[in-house]
Homo-oligomer: 111 residues x 2
Amino acid sequence: MERNQAEELRALQDTLYFIGGKWRIPVINSLCNGNRRFREIERSIPGITTRMLSRELKEMELNKLVKRNVYDEMPVLVEYEPTEYCRTFGKIITEMINWGRKHRKFVLSAQ
Amino acid sequence: MERNQAEELRALQDTLYFIGGKWRIPVINSLCNGNRRFREIERSIPGITTRMLSRELKEMELNKLVKRNVYDEMPVLVEYEPTEYCRTFGKIITEMINWGRKHRKFVLSAQ
């Protein structure tokens, strides 16, 4: 029992660590929704600053969550593509969206 | 499509905001695993400080995630009980544990 709890907690904390701050999950969600260009992703997440998004995408590239494709056009076109790994967050994101919806209903009904 | 994405993102960000920092989810998990006394919860989460746990439990009490029961014994017994609301995080936590396990396997197999 004790050992199992410790193993569960370790897995949970690994995930929380990987999710990091408040922007990683919204950025993953935006990419999985089909947004590819920097400005598209930025516009899809109200409140994120250019600087935060830039930092997040760089870290995500290092962590193999996103692939940065540079197309030799004029002007140069840069697209961010979610990797398969990025898409493994799908279930967590779905459950978070479900929870947020129920929470909003609950709060509104309590007013 | 755009409107739906905005609604999803709002639900997602509500959840992320509610989850808050790195300790909320481990504390919820510990309570749902049956830990009730302060020291029990503290011992079940390596790395958490007494101060952080104390702050977390106070905030969780304000947010109706936990009920603080004081038993008139000698010495006074205090127990923290997860509310039904607290247990609504079950699916998110399960998915996070699953993700963390897969991630660990993936990292170990890549070495």
